[in-house]
Symmetry: C2
Subunit: 155 residues, 2 copies
DNA sequence: GTTCAAGTTGAAGTTCACTTGAGGTCAAGA
DNA sequence: TCTTGACCTCAAGTGAACTTCAACTTGAAC
């Protein structure tokens, strides 16, 4: 019957804009067959693949990283339970790191309330990593860990 | 003696690139006087203002929001202890929200390990907000809260 | 057979926070 | 005085992840 879904249907069901789906296809993240007239027709499995893309994106992966992760699956198939276990275990560390970095920031803020110091070199808040704290030859102060520095836009 | 600092000095002490300082000036975040020959000369207080900018940026504020926050201070002065207490209290909520959103994501992941469902409508991981869960007329599933969706680049 | 919402393409535009480049000027030490 | 590193302006470029546009075609319903 309606085995293959047109782009509007997939857009609606996945929550991605049709233009995003075309973009993902151009980036090799998803695939589609074509109707006689050249319109895209998606298999149902693309929905799960899109769910995976969304989940990975939520974790903070770039599209390039997501593509790489999908490419590592044999046949480019959508991840099954075993894949998911392996992959999600990897993501957990990433999330834990992000959470810890934010907590450090919040706790630094807590200590700073009422002090108002905001020292570029020593304040835990304006210099959360305590980098370059006392070294005049360091390139500069106040660098954040990569995960906090480039959380990247999701959607 | 050297009351007013040239841009390179401020860049080195603050950890911002000179080009960033010029950009901030163009956006009305900081100000500078000029030497006879037209070169920028910064007052020392700009360093604290930059520390504030960095801290705000770390919390996830956009430059526009930071500018607004600075503009709300009388005379555009650098925040003092009372300002800082008020402002940081506001930020704390923001950080707490971010942390909670990430924890929800991580816990959803935890539940999902081994299940591999990744349902667009019900899986806590690909649809962390459980939005549009059962409503076919909703615009789409799987939207993240704004703070997670647009963490914005920090530096 | 007609209609028109939904689909197609490629190129260009958007946003944010900057950086880079070209072409020239300033200022401090020898 | 000379040199040279630091500084100036303005325009354009960057990168990620898309969106928008214009001009055109498809296909399902009536």
């Amino acid at each position: 019957m309606h085995d293959r879904l047109p782009v509007g249907e997939v857009a609606h069901r996945s929550g991605f804009a049709a233009s995003a789906l075309r973009y993902y296809e151009s980036q090799g993240l998803i695939a589609a067959t074509r109707s006689a007239g050249g319109q895209r027709r998606y298999e149902r499995s693309v929905l799960r693949r899109l769910a995976f893309i969304r989940a990975a994106s939520n974790v903070g992966l770039s599209l390039e990283e997501i593509r790489a992760e999908l490419d590592r699956l044999p046949d480019g198939r959508t991840p099954n339970r075993a894949d998911w276990e392996r992959i999600s275990h990897h993501w957990r560390g990433r999330l834990d790191e992000q959470i810890k970095a934010l907590q450090r920031l919040r706790d630094g803020l807590e200590n700073c309330i009422g002090c108002g110091c905001l020292s570029l070199k020593t304040c835990a808040f304006s210099n959360p990593d305590d980098q370059a704290a006392e070294d005049d030859r360091a390139p500069g102060a106040a660098y954040l860990p990569p995960l906090l520095r480039k959380p990247h836009p999701v959607r």
